[in-house]
């Protein structure tokens, strides 16, 4: 079979995946740099290319509220947003997860105000890292496309039943054009299958109450079940990533190691920076340096065991965070990785680097410098520093 390849930006690739998923409902609101996803999808609706009911809401808060109503009604439901829009949704994102509604979101990473800034960092997504959603980070437009399709399966899986977001890095991926390989429409449909909701408020013959008040006697159990669902998602994400590999030739795991097996020094990162790191590693390897990368694809659920396993043999790991915890000790990825390693018998020292806020460039020289610093012992274990900022 000939390959279906076209040049697409990340936004186009995500919108195209949504078209092929052909959801029952999309409720969304435009925001830079995710606007195109909503625009392109609206055109699919206008041209009759999808069966979707498109709800062009008056805010992101209403977008997620409408998604909740729609998913409670047993409809396959998707949305897309970024930054302030996501922040306006936060309240409803917690509720979507608490109600166990398998909504899928295209989430284009952008900095949070103030100061206002439209460029990439991960502050928006990290602001809802405890909301109960599954977070899949994408390195490029191809992964964004692939992740959107897998997200439907993951979210709707009987053991999971959790809303799932797929990120791209604002402008870097969302507006950067690449060759993206697609599956044919019918193969996407076959892969995701017909949605069979366990419950629906449209089942008027069997009325259910969604969103009941839980007091001291039940709330804790329902929140505990939510935590269990996150844990249950780990093998599901892995299995669906493998199945997707059989379908497309592009298999996915919870993490991806790049030149990591014999690496002495490693960087740990999310998203588009992993692509830059791979180029640096290739050039270092050519010089005989044992450099490697651990890319975390699933940040929620956080794959603790895979991270520990992957970093076990390295001599030092630099953990890159494209967001800050402001008053915490290190960025969100650093705190997760360090916490995962703590107590392990065989573990490398780690240091945290906060970089790239508000779209500040991270280039190959900066990553190369990180490897040099690790090797020369100039980075103190457990230290946290800022990279690329004028002090």
């Amino acid at each position: 079979m000939s390959k279906l390849v076209s040049a697409q930006t990340g936004n186009e690739a995500m919108a195209y995946a949504m078209k092929q998923v052909n959801p029952d409902v999309v409720a969304a609101y435009p925001i830079t740099p995710a606007t195109e996803i909503v625009q392109i999808f609206a055109q699919y609706v206008a041209d009759g290319d999808v069966k979707t009911e498109f709800v062009a809401v008056e805010s992101e808060h209403s977008a997620m509220s409408a998604c909740i109503g729609s998913a409670a009604a047993g409809a396959r439901t998707m949305t897309g947003t970024s930054s302030q829009g996501l922040a306006l949704m936060y309240e409803m994102c917690y509720i979507a997860a608490g109600l166990r509604l398998p909504i899928v979101m295209a989430d284009v990473n952008r900095a949070l105000s103030a100061p206002i800034n439209i460029h990439c960092d991960h502050s928006d997504t990290m602001g809802m890292r405890d909301a109960g959603w599954i977070h899949l980070f994408s390195e490029n437009a191809q992964e964004a496309y692939d992740n959107m399709i897998q997200a439907v399966r993951i979210a709707e899986h009987a053991d999971v039943q959790l809303p799932t977001l797929v990120t791209t890095d604002g402008f870097i991926i969302s507006h950067g054009m690449e060759n993206v390989e697609h599956l044919a429409d019918e193969r996407v449909q076959k892969f995701i299958g017909e949605y069979q909701p366990q419950y629906s408020i449209l089942n008027v013959g069997k009325p259910i109450t969604v969103g009941a008040l839980n007091l001291q006697d039940y709330y804790f159990e329902h929140r505990r079940a939510l935590a269990d669902a996150q844990a249950a998602a780990l093998p599901v994400i892995k299995q669906i990533g493998e199945e997707f590999g059989k379908e497309s030739g592009r298999a996915y795991g919870l993490v991806e190691g790049y030149q990591l097996d014999d690496a002495e020094y490693a960087v740990v990162a999310l998203g588009s920076t992993c692509g830059t790191a791979k180029v640096v590693i290739d050039s270092l390897r050519a010089k005989g340096e044992k450099a490697g990368l651990l890319k975390i694809r699933s940040f929620r659920p956080f794959p603790k065991d895979e991270v520990v396993q992957a970093l076990k043999k390295v001599k030092f790991a630099a953990v890159l965070d494209r967001s800050d915890t402001l008053g915490g000790y290190g960025g969100p990825v650093f705190t997760e990785v360090r916490s995962a390693l703590y107590g392990e018998a065989s573990k490398p020292p780690v240091a945290g680097f906060i970089y790239g806020l508000g779209g500040r460039e991270i280039d190959m020289e900066m990553i190369e410098e990180l490897f040099r610093l690790m090797k020369s012992g100039e980075v103190k274990p457990d230290s946290v520093q800022y990279l690329g900022v004028r002090e």
Binding site: H61, G69, M92, I95, P207, T209, V210, G211
Partner: protein
């Protein structure tokens, strides 16, 4: 319109056993609305607030229809999503029933924090009825002012004190704000007139498209009166012209009831603890102002109905 006998035979879709106060008007709104809607299968939604917290304490529910609650400010948006799902699945032949959608919200969730969500849903033209149970304050959190609280009303955030006589502002006219959306059906009704409310719910659901009913709902706790007077105090609001019963159908205003003799506003105010501090000569000026406001709003409404 369904007769009382027919309504009684339908069986309650909002059942007893919930935790509302004795004499609660909000639960009367829910029960009568679902009875009136009874010939259609209904999906209901509700904003966070009294009605939701008293009726859905897990593992119990008073709702014998499918029900969804998500948050405070978004009953309209949430139900609009369910309605969109219904349209999609209906078109695909995956749902057989002819379902109607009703969203409930108190005045806090409707006039204030939820007005954007309501305006958006009405503008988008969803086939849903939004019913505001308007008890003129945030009762669920312990009686705080809303933009529906009348001038002079004592609430815990517009308290009557030594310098201020309760709420300083007049209430917002939400019914007209929603009428300005040019939707098929908008109406005002009241707890205490079951036939007016039943007829309006039936009409709203039969017309199709977005519809809004603002129901004045006396609250014995927040308004301060004996629980057995809920319906009576509602009717008195109509007899004083404080709360005219009218509807706006396809843009045309129609008055549904004119009192034979308009009663003075003090007849209604002084049945309620929240206005008790206005008794006495030092507040006569404010009482006159409140009366003038009632009369002016009534005259403006009559003009709109004469068009």
């Amino acid at each position: 319109m369904a007769t009382l006998k027919e309504l009684a035979a339908r069986g309650d879709k909002f059942t007893g056993g919930h935790r509302a106060c004795a004499g609660c008007g909000a639960t009367i709104v829910a029960r009568q609305a679902l009875l009136a809607a009874g010939k259609h299968p209904v999906v209901a939604g509700c904003a966070t607030g009294c009605l939701e917290v008293v009726s859905t304490i897990y593992p119990y529910t008073a709702w014998n229809v499918p029900f969804v609650h998500s948050a405070f400010e978004n009953s309209a948006a949430t139900v609009s999503g369910a309605e969109a799902a219904y349209r999609s699945l209906k078109r695909q032949g995956k749902v057989a029933d002819e379902i109607r959608f009703i969203a409930f919200g108190g005045d806090g969730g409707t006039y204030d924090i939820g007005i954007q969500s309501l305006s958006g849903a009405m503008e988008r033209g969803h086939n849903m009825l939004y019913i505001c149970y308007d008890n003129q304050a945030y009762m669920n959190t312990g009686i705080q002012r809303s933009s529906a609280t009348p001038r002079g009303g004592h609430t815990t955030t517009s308290p009557a004190g030594k310098k201020q006589p309760g709420k300083l502002q007049f209430r917002k006219n939400l019914t007209e704000i929603i009428a300005a959306h040019n939707i098929p059906y908008v109406a005002q009704s009241v707890v205490g007139n079951w036939s007016d409310f039943t007829r309006k719910v039936e009409k709203a659901l039969d017309k199709g498209g977005p519809a809004f009913i603002d129901v004045l709902q006396p609250c014995r706790l927040g308004w301060g009166y004996p629980p057995e007077l809920t319906a009576e105090i509602g009717r008195l609001a109509v007899e004083t012209n404080f709360w005219p019963l009218y509807e706006v159908e396809d843009g045309k205003h129609k008055l549904n009831y004119t009192p034979k003799e308009r009663k003075p506003i003090t007849d209604w105010l002084f049945q309620q603890e929240r206005f008790r501090h206005l008794k006495g000569p030092e507040h006569q000026g404010l009482i006159d102002e409140i009366q003038r406001d009632v009369d002016q709003r009534w005259e403006a409404l009559q003009k709109r109905c004469a068009l």
